[in-house]
């Protein structure tokens, strides 16, 4: 098996598995609810708070800014809806959400929900053909009517094509007008240097399973002075912004994985960039008309390669590669598993046909040259066959 889908989920780090299992084993003798006042509760709370400190240190944030959640999706929903509600409550003129047109569905659909149910107005900010949001576009959109902007949300790096956004400059522009800035950094943590303080963002989303932590746990780094209305009401466990008993083992695993991933990030970046560049070069040799989507060099996640294969359907390519033990993704899927043309590629100006003909190869900490070799062994035959199988509308 060659696993080239680390952007979907990456294998857990052995150290994180050990931490999670140790914390689970501790639950054999002590039923620790981190909110309880007795000894068992204190024990659980200690794990949670040390995890909070560890995660904060890894990300250049303060412990008080860490809000543990159940997933990246929850963090995105909390930031987008919660900050919008708080800003709108403070001044009802603030209805506008400015978001890049290439956001993940966790942001995109949360914003659309605000528009459909809460009276928000949405502006999807145009990106260039590499998927990059230019700071001038944001500035222009804000300056048109600065007083009615509730928040700006722009992802750190794109999950499909890997393009890295100029987050620091975008956040600075939002702050010139006193507007809070959220970023979905789910793909960035562990692959790029992510320093919350240095980036200037007010809220940042991350998810454990994207950098070697467990599934089912995420966090929102939320600036201490950023007002945010909760999504989940109850015990108010996380700063009164998020209720629900914390999953202590998962939180511990997330924090350790983050610490290790951040520590190893520079070396991983160098290694994955080399592997990825080799992959890109060899794909272009094997399939000369393959089109690399996204940004070159440093403006791209080191583990990401994203191609359109003219005349092929992405889901045919996926099926054929899967049958040869090569696991990849078309980069976008809806709930029934139906491949839809990627909104990211469409926003980058691709035709619908090209958007349906794409595959994402994503590398991570366990990737090796053998994975790339396996892909390239299979790819030429797979592309040839997928071309023959293309529906008439895709036939060239």
């Amino acid at each position: 098996m060659a696993y080239l889908d680390h952007a979907a989920s990456t294998p857990m780090l052995a150290e994180a598995v050990a931490t999670v299992t140790a914390a689970l084993a501790a639950a054999l003798s002590a039923a620790g609810n981190a909110s309880s006042l007795h000894s068992a509760g204190r024990q659980a709370r200690r794990v949670v708070e040390e995890s909070r400190e560890q995660l904060a240190a890894a990300l250049g944030a303060r412990p008080s800014e860490i809000v543990f959640t159940g997933s990246g999706t929850e963090s995105d929903n909390l930031a987008v809806k919660g900050i919008w509600w708080a800003r709108h409550d403070a001044d009802p003129r603030r209805t506008r959400v400015l978001a890049s047109a290439v956001e993940h569905h966790a942001v995109l659909d949360a914003v659309e929900w605000l528009a459909g149910h809460e009276g928000a107005t949405v502006e999807w900010l145009e990106v260039d053909e590499q998927g990059r949001l230019h700071p001038d576009v944001l500035r222009e959109a804000i300056e048109r009517s600065p007083d009615d902007v509730a928040l700006v949300t722009v992802m750190w790096a794109n999950n499909e094509v890997g393009t890295v956004q100029p987050v620091r400059r975008l956040a600075d522009i939002a702050h010139e007008f006193g507007i809070p800035f959220h970023t979905d950094a789910v793909q960035a943590v562990g692959q790029l240097p992510v320093d919350v303080g240095a980036s200037g963002v007010d809220a940042l989303t991350l998810a454990g399973h994207k950098f070697g932590g467990p599934l089912g746990v995420g966090a929102l780094v939320l600036g201490r002075d950023v007002a945010c209305v909760p999504l989940l009401h109850g015990g108010g466990q996380e700063r009164d912004v998020r209720s629900g008993t914390l999953d202590t083992p998962a939180v511990a695993g997330l924090a350790l994985a983050a610490a290790l991933a951040v520590e190893r990030q520079p070396a991983l970046h160098a290694r994955l960039s080399g592997l990825r560049d080799d992959l890109v070069r060899r794909v272009q040799q094997a399939v000369p008309d393959a089109v690399l989507n996204g940004a070159p060099g440093r403006d791209r996640l080191p583990g990401n390669a994203h191609f359109s294969f003219p005349g092929c359907e992405g889901d045919s390519l996926l099926l054929l590669l899967d049958a040869r033990g090569v696991e990849v993704s078309t980069g976008s899927a809806c709930s029934a598993g139906v491949a839809r043309p990627s909104h990211v590629l469409l926003a980058m100006g691709a035709a619908e046909v090209a958007a349906r003909s794409s595959l994402r190869f994503s590398l991570g900490h366990s990737s090796t040259g053998a994975d790339v070799d396996a892909l390239l062994d299979a790819l030429p035959g797979v592309v040839e066959r997928a071309r023959r199988a293309a529906l008439p509308t895709l036939r060239r």
């Binding site: 889901d315 996926l318 099926l319 598993g337 066959r385 023959r388």
Partner: protein, 350 residues
Amino acid sequence: MRLLAALSGGVDSAVAAALAVEAGHDVTAVHLALSAAPATLRTGSRGCCSKEDARDASRVADLLGIPFYVWDLADRFRADVVDDFVAEYAAGRTPNPCLRCNEKIKFAAVLDRALALGFDAVVTGHHARLAGGELRRSVDEAKDQSYVLAVLTPEQLAGTVLPLGGLTKAEVRTAAAARGFGVADKPDSHDICFIADGDTAGFLRDRLGPQPGPVVDALTGAVVGGHEGAYAYTVGQRRGLALTVPAADGRPRYVLSVEPVSRTVTVGPGEALDTTSVRATAALWLAPRALPLACEVQLRAHGAVHACVASKDGSGGWRLELATAARGVAPGQAAVLYEGDRVLASATIA
């Protein structure tokens, strides 16, 4: 063989795939997404392609340990089946969308793609026997689907595997339960999958708009009522006729014909629906025979079988002389010729 199993989420296709796996074939499963906006849950026995169906299909693939994908054929389905369905009704005919789906989607778009991707054939859960190019009725006559498969060409059948033809529906359910499939007792699908509420007339009205016209009595020529769209009526229909003038003989009246240009629905007594002579066009032979030919014919899905003599009608179609009268023969349905349980040919009733 490398086989592509089309899993609908129902019990039949699940068992068909299982039998293919157990026969030693290399099987990959696909679920066809035929609706652009699938419902989350099924409504009784109606509807299809809900997310629940997709999940049921994927659970079967999990248990069989075979790869599972969803193929989005919603655009093709709309163009080739749903739009065709509406256009046929608008033209005064009575289409069979299941037959059209087999002809254009399952054994065309899907089969073509499967073959191009390197599969040898498509496996489905239809109840019919297929061996050596011969298509026969299922051993379970009540569930037999040879009628809706009779429109397939020999080439399409050559790329098709039907593992269920030798099993009754009860045996299929037992086989599913024995394999631990959660769909073992899932209700059969009925009606038209893309009309979830079963209201065909309403579905057509939404798409074709009101087209009022007269209802005319065939015997007297008098206008005996009106309607909001001739497309809502099909030959043989009795219910839903809002007649303002009672029949002279006091007996029930039925739709005898639908004429879309003048929007005229003609009604008359039940026996006027009886016919022993049927014309059909666009014949497709699976087992070629010389005409004239004494054989049997079926004129609608799950309909009666009539002994008949088929001959050429002089314009490339057939004339079928039936030994016993058929009631309510609807233009647009298929006339399928059988020799015992074997399908010989199909054509479209004119």
